[in-house]
């Protein structure tokens, strides 16, 4: 068989389509070039990129359909099939000739853009970007291949093209929708490349293989408008199922409207492992309902009013935000918080900022249903000079309270909270002003070092956990940790806002002053996750699960080291905001959600509603 004769036949057969397509893709760049030169604005590659990105792939699909349709007409099909030529070779030639033509059409505006860019370099705008070219290229290949395969099967130009375009959209969306977990077979393709290149090529190759077999065995899928509509409905259904399974698979056990007087008030706190609502009542689950039991009197605001508003004299900062590090000793409840205060100063640039002069550790106790200050310790010596951004953190480990202020650590024995004693002298710790791992585009395997906090009186493991939390979970370390320990292996987790990944760093080994960690795993957010979560507020680990709370989204992941970061559940309320969230002892979760009625008058009582949600632990 003379292959060149077949190639010649293919090209001749498509010559009008080629001319029309080249005309379509070139008319705008040429027009822009001429007008741009005339006006002196130069050539902007934007339109070229648009054509390469949108028009050329669609035309590639049309070329595929024309290419196939010319041959698959029943009578013509019998004519060329009866010739002594290997059917697979014939189809392969048709496929590749059509593909070459599609690439040629795609290349026309791109090459034109580059030539013009080269010739009139000084007038070229930034619209002509190399980045888009490979993407458009593989997109064109995918559409071409799908349309080719489908047309061999369906033998109808319009329907084949339409389904090809729909499937392309479907396949392009699919990797975004599916959780990118290496245990998920489908996602393996996606994980192989961050740009979906291999995934697209696999789809293209499968379409090509389909066309080979469909021709060889004379598969002919008869379609009509009804079946076409069913196909579209099926694809939409699958997409919707994927959408819903991703964002609404945590069961809501109860929704309860609540009254709260404070905006942004943290209604949920821990005392030990128990969750407390409004500092008054323990929350637990009883028959899938929220069950409240009295803590022991109303506690009210932990921070005395004179301090919480700065006493009218100072600009201040409090840690924890609402002063709720609570410990139960016997029948008594104690609250610990640090209060830093300072004055307004002018910076070199002329703007105003706070310069912190002093810091105090307060200990309050519940007496007759209100907090009474029982101890105050001056921590001002922990502050360096010219502190404009004071770092504060605390954690209780057994009977020890570790207090971080600025670059110092002070440890107290809180066996008797009314008479807390400093255990050791103030220790200087490494400054927090360092590279933040969850804001950096590290690659898998990258190693980092975390300085060890030289805390005394706790185990080696606790020391590592404290060091990690101090660095990457300082804001919430008084009540949560980002560290997980499984079979003695220590890992910590977080959401990287730079790469939009959920990451696991494993602790490799400890050196005298630092612990060496390595980025072990990154789980890319899916497209839908990206849409629903706006800002990650809180990330913590509890009982082998990673909890991530964004403005209106809660995601729960299984973090078993052998299985990787695997999503267990996703809860989203797009018009709500998650104010606070806590994990109950039975694994269920309780959320405080606030709903803003955006379109109500400002003074309407309907403007804002608050709810407690009890969610089934996934």
């Amino acid at each position: 068989m003379k292959i060149q004769a077949i190639i010649h036949q293919q090209i001749s057969q498509l010559k009008w389509q080629i001319l029309v397509c080249v005309g379509l893709v070139m008319v705008l760049p040429v027009e822009e070039f001429i007008v741009g030169l005339k006006d002196g604005h130069g050539f902007s590659g934007g339109i070229t990129v648009f054509i390469a990105f949108i028009i050329a792939p669609l035309l590639a699909g049309l070329i595929a359909c024309s290419n196939v349709q010319a041959e698959m007409n029943d009578k013509l099909y019998l004519f060329w099939r009866s010739k002594p030529a290997g059917i697979k070779l014939m189809v392969a030639i048709k496929y590749f000739v059509g593909l070459a033509i599609s690439i040629f059409i795609f290349a026309c505006p791109v090459v034109f853009g580059f030539i013009v860019t080269f010739l009139y370099n000084e007038k070229v705008s930034s619209g002509m970007r190399m980045f888009y070219i490979p993407l458009c290229f593989v997109l064109a290949i995918m559409i071409y291949s799908l349309c080719f395969g489908l047309n061999v099967l369906i033998r109808n130009t319009a329907r084949g093209w339409l389904i090809g375009i729909l499937l392309t959209g479907f396949f392009l969306l699919l990797p975004f929708l599916l959780p990118l977990n290496h245990k998920d077979v489908f996602s393996v393709f996606v994980l192989l490349t961050s740009r979906y290149l291999i995934f697209i090529i696999i789809i293209s190759v499968l379409s090509f293989v389909l066309s080979l077999f469909a021709t060889q065995y004379d598969w002919h899928l008869k379609t009509n408008l009804k079946s076409l509509l069913w196909t579209i409905a099926g694809l939409v259904f699958v997409l919707l199922m994927l959408f819903s399974s991703q964002v609404a698979n945590i069961k809501i056990l109860e929704e309860k409207e609540i009254q709260t007087s404070f905006h942004n008030e943290n209604l949920l706190n821990y005392i030990g492992d128990k969750v407390v609502y409004k500092q008054n009542e323990y929350i637990s689950t009883n028959n899938d309902k929220i069950s409240l039991s009295n803590v022991g009197g109303t506690m009210g605001q932990a921070i005395p009013a004179g301090l919480s508003d700065g006493g009218g004299r100072y600009n201040h900062d409090v840690y924890p935000h609402d002063g709720r590090l609570i410990k139960q000793v016997g029948d008594d409840y104690y609250c610990f918080y640090i209060f830093a205060h300072g004055g307004i100063v002018k910076t070199d640039r002329g703007s105003s900022t706070i310069e912190y002069h002093g810091a105090t550790l307060y200990v309050s106790k519940v007496e007759r249903s209100s907090w009474v200050l029982v101890r105050e310790i001056d921590l001002s010596e922990c502050l360096d000079e010219n502190v404009y951004n004071v770092f504060m953190a605390m954690r209780i480990i057994e009977n020890k309270l570790f207090v971080f202020v600025d670059n110092s650590l002070v440890t107290y024995d809180i066996t008797n909270p009314e008479d807390i004693q400093q255990v050791d002298a103030k220790i200087n710790v490494v400054s927090m002003q360092r590279y933040y791992v969850f804001g950096s585009a590290f690659e898998k395997g990258s190693e980092i070092e975390i300085p060890i906090v030289p805390a005394e009186g706790i185990s080696e493991q606790e020391k590592i956990v404290l060091s990690i939390d101090r660095f990457y979970n300082a804001r919430n370390m008084y009540e949560s940790s980002i560290v997980d320990i499984f079979n003695g292996e220590i890992s910590f987790y977080g959401y990287n806002f730079s790469t939009d990944c959920f990451q696991r760093y494993e602790v490799m080994y400890r050196e005298p002053y630092v612990i060496k960690c390595r980025l072990k795993e990154s789980r890319q957010s899916t497209f839908l996750e990206g849409l629903t979560k706006q800002r990650m507020n809180k990330t913590f680990v509890k009982n082998g699960k990673l909890y991530c709370v964004a403005d209106n989204t809660l995601m729960v992941f299984d973090i078993h080291p052998d299985k990787g970061i695997r999503k267990l559940g996703h809860f989203v309320r797009l018009d709500y905001r998650i104010e606070d969230m806590a994990v109950l002892e039975d694994g269920n979760m309780v959320l405080h959600l606030r709903w803003d009625h955006l379109f109500s008058p400002a003074n309407s009582v309907e403007k804002e509603k608050n709810y407690l949600y009890l969610l089934k632990g996934p």
Binding site: K2, K75, L78, S82, K83, P84, A85
Partner: protein
């Protein structure tokens, strides 16, 4: 006896649940012009597609030139010339281009022969295929089927859509070119009068099975029609080979296949009032085979 050009044994083929070929058995002798008759939709084209290796039978065997049609497809196609019903070709090609294109598939393409054929058929070489008349289109299809000098030529309703003159012209070419050349011609058609003058063997396909296969002469000789007066003692239930029986006024016409002396005697004994025996043309024979009333009384 020499090996048949085409040998089909127990061939079954279905499109989904619809069974089209139900155990076809057929032998096409070498060098014969084999008329393959069947009504539209009885499976003629399906059988031809199987012979060409275009589709795999569900069971059974199909040997063309001694080769299996599905495993040795390419070798078979090199030896076969095929022309489909209402043959469509690349309309945008010129006649000379399509000849060149088709020649590319066959190493033994006989350019001299095709040039002669083109002149003989009066084919204009420089006009596009889509501009040819129906008759010219059929002639070109025949030329393309014969250009490589095949041993076996398969013609699937080749005159479909041609006017009577073009049809006769086409058949004349077929006879001239093939009858004298020792080529086996498998001529499928639903038009009896078209096959009758050229075929030396006939097979009739009905409802997916071959209901008759023999030489044309045997077929003419063996099928007879008896016109008889009705009689109460007339009972055909014991008689084999009744293809058709119907009553018109005071007479009954009975068409019998494989009509020998014993059958003749039996019929005459049943009807003492006398019988009239007539020979049938192929049209009538075909009609009796495919739409005949096999009623016994």
């Amino acid at each position: 006896m020499s090996e048949p050009a085409i040998k089909i044994e127990g061939l079954h083929f279905s499109y989904g649940k619809k069974q089209v070929l139900k155990g076809v058995n057929l032998e096409v002798p070498k060098g014969s012009i084999f008329g393959f008759l069947g009504r539209n939709g009885t499976g003629k084209t399906t059988l031809i597609k199987t012979m060409l290796g275009l589709q795999k039978p569900h069971s059974g065997k199909c040997l063309v030139g001694g080769m299996d049609s599905f495993t040795q497809t390419l070798d078979i196609r090199k030896r076969i010339g095929f022309m489909a019903e209402d043959q469509q070709m690349y309309g945008w090609m010129k006649v000379k281009q399509i000849i060149k294109w088709a020649a590319g598939f066959y190493p033994d393409w006989d350019y001299e022969f095709t040039d002669k054929l083109a002149v003989k058929f009066g084919l204009p070489m420089n006009i596009k295929v889509k501009e040819l008349s129906k008759g010219q289109n059929s002639s070109l299809a025949l030329l393309l089927a014969l250009g490589h000098r095949p041993d076996i030529v398969i013609l699937d309703d080749p005159t479909l859509g041609l006017d009577p003159i073009a049809r006769k012209d086409f058949l004349r070419h077929v006879i001239e070119l093939l009858q004298t050349d020792g080529v086996t011609v498998f001529f499928s058609s639903h038009l009896l009068y078209e096959i009758e003058p050229v075929a030396d063997h006939i097979a009739i396909l009905d409802k997916g099975v071959i209901v008759k296969s023999c030489t044309t002469e045997q077929l003419r000789e063996s099928v007879r029609k008896f016109v008889i007066a009705p009689s109460p003692q007339a009972d055909f239930s014991e008689m084999q080979g009744i293809l058709d029986a119907f009553q018109t006024g005071n007479t009954i016409s009975v068409t019998v296949e494989d009509c020998d002396e014993s059958k003749r005697a039996k019929i005459k004994s049943m009807f003492s009032n006398g019988t009239q025996e007539t020979a049938l043309n192929l049209d009538e024979i075909f009609e009796a085979y495919v739409i005949g009333n096999r009623g016994s009384k």
